[in-house]
Symmetry: none
Subunit: 399 residues, 2 copies
């Protein structure tokens, strides 16, 4: 309800907003850092300066205690309630490899697996075949043709691939065929109507092609999901938006909400600078900039690498700020604490600089200072409202 | 849902609550004040003493990032969710000039305007005629009689007036007749049934009366709204409430929730002191006291005037406190930052003194101290619940 309220109050103007996402930014107290977090230990003079002149807060990606995946975490940042706008795993997998889904496409994840002679699954990952092998197998599967749908098989990594069926009347009421445990047969394809027929035929034909190709002599399907188009960020919030992200997953989620996906060349932060400039030059007033390395370091449990990733972003920041944004937001999509090597539920620091703010509450960008920042703590979906307000893009509610 | 919960838990007692609203209280960091806000810069020994002995927090009038009008902002303070209880602009205009609306009345705003010979709007404000002229024109329009309804035309200011139709079966599905731009004809009256007939006839008859009175030779209507009675603050929260406000707008909103509107003579803060005393003497246990000047100063961007307005309130405060309230709340309805000269979305400091509180967290009443106060931050509608609780007027939920 409140989100619809925001949509009704949107008023356009020329102000330009940068939303920079340091993936997995948040962390917890780390002993080797004397109880500090990587963000607290990192030398970040640029972000500290913005913190002092702007306002800090903490965002809660989904709800207190809930750990988000990357998809829902980003949707929240873009102002889409991740509980209302759910994206199925098959769809996320396809988006994650940069596949251009269309409304009504049915997507699922594939695991190549090993069956014994009696059809029992003996390895759900086919001995973790190489990505090269995966690409080769996917090549063979392009021969699978099914009446009434187009079929796309896309390699992902090692034993992982995904499949997309395109045609009218598909539904996603299909259970996983992956039994989840070795020692069982693949689960027979359930569901109804066209989807069941299509998937049975796909599984049968793929099975024939793979039959002699040990260890990957079959495939398991899971996470069936129909792609539904979302109302775009332009329709909802009047923003002409662009995404500057190097990883397909984040380009995919940005594409879901209708952002223009900027090409980056070279594929590093200097390429991202050029892409942000091009985004502004071509009339965009909202740029989503995604920086991945802090999350990867967190997943690896590598404290020093996470600190370095944050410092690298801070050094690159002035070039982005020189592009003359009116409002700049720096945050993470979620926390990826190094001691956990996983995404977590911990609230994520948010920095907003530009527009009318209560400033002078903070001297540095950190989890601890964000906790007593002028913005308070709030759900991630409130960030976009605050940015629109700071940029003068929201009218008053009532007289 | 939570509000209905509060209503169910209400228990009456003799405790008396003062809710003092310093209009537009909140502000942002101001350079000429060394980054402080007017509230932080003002000398407010009385409020600081209450802050030290009570508890501070921040309220969010509507939702994060949403800037409220005065109507919805006050409804929130009175415990009425402003998104659920929406008040149309026509109704607010009528309330704003102190007109006593009845349930089912249809109200709209009037702009006197100028038409050229071919009926095209050449000035939507009729050259901003004087208020005296407006009163004179409204006087002429009292001759307009329409079958089946009573018609009331009330002057507001310059080219602005409002009209109220009273009768059975009126609806507010009427579009503005104001084209919003010069160079167009007034928009023909749309809508259905009785309302359309009534408004067409009113426009026609008014047009005949005004035809030769250049520059105000016609009128435009907008913000059609039906007045719906709200459940009263007494029905909902068991409070016998009184409003002590000098401006019609705030008396109007208080009237909407069923407060008794106290007369103030003289029309200044000394008159308000007497009115509050009379309210208590006549058995009220909840008094809403409205202080306007800080908001006006904020709208003017006049930092020193805002400081003075806050200091004036602080000097007046002991006289109110001497009246022996059990619980005192001092807050604003919204922020009106001087650098913006507008209402804003920034959270508003709240002070509660009296009743069992966690105190000693704060040494002064300020935005910054409110940010780390014992009450935390919350939606404006929670304030009334906290006051009821502090005054012992809420029973336990569950056993």
């Amino acid at each position: 309800m409140c989100r619809d309220l925001v949509e009704k109050l949107v008023q356009k103007n020329d102000s330009r907003i940068l939303m920079a996402v340091i993936d997995g930014l948040g962390d917890i107290s780390i002993e080797e850092l004397g109880g500090r977090t990587p963000l607290e230990a990192a030398k970040t003079p640029e972000m500290d300066r913005l913190a002092a002149g702007g306002a800090l807060g903490l965002h809660i990606p989904i709800a207190r205690g809930i750990t988000p995946g990357s998809g829902p975490a980003h949707l929240g940042l873009f102002g889409y309630d991740p509980v209302r706008y759910q994206v199925g795993r098959g769809v996320l997998a396809a988006l994650g490899v940069g596949f251009k889904l269309q409304h009504g496409d049915l997507a699922a994840r594939i695991n190549f697996c090993t069956l014994d002679d009696s059809g029992i699954v003996t390895d759900r990952r086919a001995g973790r075949i190489s990505t090269e092998k995966c690409v080769e197998l996917v090549g063979l599967l392009t021969d699978v043709k099914i009446d009434g749908v187009e079929t796309f098989v896309i390699p992902v990594k090692q034993h992982r691939a995904c499949v997309v069926f395109r045609g009218n009347g598909l539904t996603d009421d299909i259970m996983d065929t992956d039994p989840g445990l070795v020692g069982h047969r693949p689960v027979p394809v359930t569901g109804s109507g066209k989807s069941r027929t299509v998937i049975r035929e796909f599984q049968e034909k793929a099975g024939e092609i793979l039959a002699d190709l040990n260890p990957a002599n079959f495939l398991l399907l899971r996470g069936f999901a129909l792609h539904k188009e979302f109302p775009s960020i332009e329709e909802r919030f009047g923003l002409c938006s662009a995404a500057v992200a190097l990883y397909p997953m984040y380009r995919g989620v940005a594409g879901l909400v209708g952002m223009d996906i900027m090409k980056c060349s070279p594929e590093d932060i200097t390429g991202q600078e050029k892409a942000v400039k091009r985004a502004l030059d071509s009339g965009h007033d909202f740029v989503f900039l995604h920086h991945k390395p802090a999350d990867s370091a967190g997943e690896d449990g590598n404290v020093q690498a996470k600190i370095s990733a944050i410092e690298e972003f801070d050094r690159a920041l002035p070039a982005f700020l020189d592009l003359d944004f009116d409002v700049v937001c720096i945050t993470g999509d979620h926390s990826t604490p190094c001691p956990m090597k996983l995404h977590s539920w911990h609230p994520v620091p948010v920095l907003i600089h530009g527009g009318p703010q209560r400033s002078g509450y903070s001297s540095a960008f950190s989890e601890k200072q964000a906790c007593t920042g002028a913005l308070g703590s709030f759900r991630s979906t409130d960030i976009l409202t605050l940015l629109l307000a700071s940029a003068g893009k929201l009218a008053k509610f009532g007289a």
